[in-house]
């Protein structure tokens, strides 16, 4: 076997390469969204694809999110594998009904006869100084819905392969893209096959450590790694887990880490209240009760609407807030 070239690509371009590859591999893969054709999407994730695959494979739709998802449902009924782009996180709500009532439930409702292999790509999260409705983290709503898989990538290599895995999945996948990391570069093996790759539902230990575990996903993985770096300077060895999949949750990887370190901090940009972190905390106390040295800590968004850009730095979890939570797991 010859090693494939692994060029350095920004996360956004890695997604573009993933889409291109998925479309080459399977003629049933079609893209739908607003401005994804000539413009290549507002973040250029579909750049050049309409030119190469034509307007029947890269479809500029009217401006109606429920319409986009509902049309994708019909295409899936017909045997297509639609990949939908929701332009920004805050615009997914008009499509909420089609996603949770139709996309999520049709396999169940039809006794397994109708598959919904729809991938819904959502540029999400804050940190780019956007106006309102452009910085939201709605992943928790979807993780609570049976029938959906919910994932978020944090780096270019994962972005490429996870997107191809999501498209290949026979289940609907909400694919949350950390928009503020679109320009973050990493090595990407665009020729890597997806069948023997790291499975979509697995979390990954991205930094090994022994004193405490930090769980993050999407945009905050980089932040968690920064916190771990700082902690290392202070003599604390922090393990960092990139969750990758929010539904299902890879509890094996989580529990193994917590049993080793005895301390856990979970961080996400979505509100802490009723969030992904709450679910993980509950499961960890159930499965790792006797390994825990301290209560599980959560660092998330406040229970406020996403704030104006000038104050978002106070809203978003940063390395300091995460380190503060780590400190709380070490009672004086």
């Amino acid at each position: 076997m010859t090693a494939t070239l692994a060029p350095t690509l920004p996360l956004g371009k890695a997604l573009n390469a993933g889409l291109r590859r998925a479309m080459e591999d399977d003629p049933k893969v079609v893209l739908l969204g607003e401005d994804i054709g000539k413009l290549g999407g507002v973040f250029r994730i579909t750049d050049g694809l309409q030119k190469d695959f034509g307007p029947n494979r890269v479809i500029d739709t009217p401006l109606a999110e429920s319409g986009i998802i509902g049309t994708a449902v019909g295409l899936a009924f017909r045997g297509y594998r639609p990949v939908v782009e929701i332009q920004f996180d805050g615009f997914i709500y008009p499509a909420f009904d089609q996603i949770v009532s139709q996309v999520a439930k049709l396999h169940y409702r039809t006794g397994g006869n109708v598959k919904m292999p729809i991938t819904i790509r959502v540029p999400y999260g804050g940190g780019i100084g956007a106006v309102e409705h452009h910085s939201e983290s709605p992943e928790g709503y979807f993780a609570q819905t049976a029938g959906l898989r919910v994932v978020s990538c944090s780096n270019a290599a994962d972005a490429n392969v996870m997107l191809r895995q999501a498209i290949a999945s026979d289940d609907p996948v909400l694919f949350f893209e950390p928009k503020r990391r679109y320009w973050q570069k990493g090595e990407v093996d665009v020729a890597r096959p997806i069948d023997d790759a790291y499975p979509l539902h697995k979390a990954r230990v991205v930094r090994e450590g022994t004193d405490a575990t930090i769980i993050a996903y999407g945009p905050l993985v980089v932040t968690a790694l920064q916190a771990a770096d700082v902690a290392a300077g202070e003599g604390r060895s922090i393990e960092v887990i990139d969750l990758r999949s929010l539904s299902p949750l890879d509890m094996d990887t989580i529990a193994t880490s917590v049993r080793k370190t005895g301390r856990l901090v979970i961080t996400h940009e979505a509100a802490t209240f009723m969030g992904i972190g709450a679910e993980i905390a509950a499961r960890v106390q159930d499965q790792c009760f006797y390994s825990l040295e301290a209560p599980v800590q959560r660092v998330g968004g406040f229970s406020t609407p996403y704030p104006a850009a000038k104050v978002e730095e106070f809203f978003l979890p940063d390395a300091d807030r995460i380190l503060d939570a780590v400190d709380r797991t070490f009672p004086a």
Binding site: G67, G70, A72, G74, H107, Y108
Partner: protein, 367 residues
């Protein structure tokens, strides 16, 4: 605001058979059903009677506690049979929840329809076996699915077309407007079939719209027909016309079938709270079955042998349906976890195993 007064006249309705059972003047529409000989008209009549009988039997089963709910179609038989009999086998149907008559014409076993309302299954049948979806409760959502399916058919260069059914109330949903817009923009081979039965539970159609539903379609660039929904031949003609347009690549058509829901919205509803009895009486004069009976009678085609044939068929279907309903084998507790995902999902496996262990714990306790 008086919403009970209709602001539209019905002068524009396509009609081929009047309520008195007389044929109207020949028209471009009546020519599309010239192949419907008296024999074929008798078949349509039989369909109407059998469908009404299925509905009556299911309503009775609900009253006897065998079904949790039923959405009767009394009065809408012609709209459903006329449109469904225009379809080819490879056309695809995206229905709502009242299309028992359409499902019957597609060959779905009435027992399978009932099991959904009994609460024994969510699926009823395999959509791909009959090219018809199982019931959709969220009003209007299925119009978008039809549009997407139609788009897929167009990409595939397929022969067929798609038809989707919804009510007058559903036309107020954004999904219906979005479906009109998408289908028109993409030229999707879709027939939007609105059964305007005048009521959305207690709300009259005039609360949903002050123009006709057909006019709403036209506003989206979707050519629209208004048809007497109680005239099975007119509905057949209109649907054939719309399907032909779809098949030749001319895009979507909206059909507003003006009909009337003669019974309650569902078996839980009480229409006497909101509907004047005079209106019911008025519509009884336009009954879809009576008018075909009058026409066949005038043509000398309502002989005793034919009446017996129709009665036998209706009785037989009703008996089968009752037997099937009462003989339903109910699903097991563990079936809860089936088909949530297409691929294995650890959370489902975990919850299924834990629940199985929990249930197994009762075995020793019983007896």
């Amino acid at each position: 605001m008086d919403t009970a007064i209709s602001r539209t006249s019905d002068d524009d309705l396509i009609q081929i058979v009047t309520p008195e059972g007389k044929r109207t003047e020949p028209s471009e529409y009546s020519r599309t059903v010239e192949d419907i000989t008296i024999d074929k008209l008798r078949d349509l009549y039989e369909d109407l009677v059998v469908v009404r009988r299925i509905d009556a039997e299911a309503t009775a089963l609900q009253r006897q506690g065998e079904l949790g709910l039923w959405a009767p179609l009394l009065g809408q038989e012609a709209a459903q049979v006329g449109s469904a009999r225009a379809l080819h086998a490879d056309d695809f149907v995206f229905g709502s929840y009242r299309e028992h008559g359409v499902a019957y014409c597609r060959g779905v076993d009435p027992t399978e329809m009932l099991r959904f309302w009994r609460g024994s299954t969510q699926s009823g049948w395999n959509p791909y076996e009959y090219n018809m979806t199982t019931p959709a409760i969220i009003v209007g959502a299925q119009a978008l699915h039809a549009t997407g399916y139609g788009l897929g058919m167009k990409f595939d260069g397929a022969e067929g077309a798609v038809i989707t059914y919804f009510g007058d109330g559903a036309t107020s949903q954004g999904d219906i407007s979005e479906a009109f817009g998408f289908a028109a923009s993409f030229g999707a081979p879709v027939v939007f079939f609105c059964q305007n039965n005048q009521w959305a539970i207690s709300e009259p159609v005039t609360l949903q719209t002050h123009i006709t539903i057909a006019e709403r379609g036209r506003g989206f660039g979707v050519p629209s027909l208004r048809v007497d929904g109680n005239d099975v031949l007119a509905v057949l003609a209109a649907t054939r016309t719309a399907l032909a347009r779809a098949r030749e690549g001319s895009g979507p058509t909206l059909i507003e079938a003006v009909t009337y829901r003669m019974g309650p919205h569902t078996t839980s509803d009480d229409p006497t709270r909101y509907r004047p009895a005079a209106l019911d009486d008025e519509w009884k004069q336009k009954d879809p079955i009576d008018r075909i009976e009058r026409l066949l009678d005038a043509e000398g085609a309502m002989d005793a042998a034919f009446r017996a044939r129709v009665k036998d068929r209706a009785d037989h279907t009703a008996a089968e349906l009752r037997r099937g309903c009462l003989g339903t084998v109910e699903p097991t507790a563990m079936s809860l976890f089936d088909n949530v995902y297409a691929d294995p999902h650890p959370l489902i496996a975990e919850e299924r195993d834990a629940y199985a262990t929990y249930l197994a714990g009762f075995e020793g306790v019983q007896s």
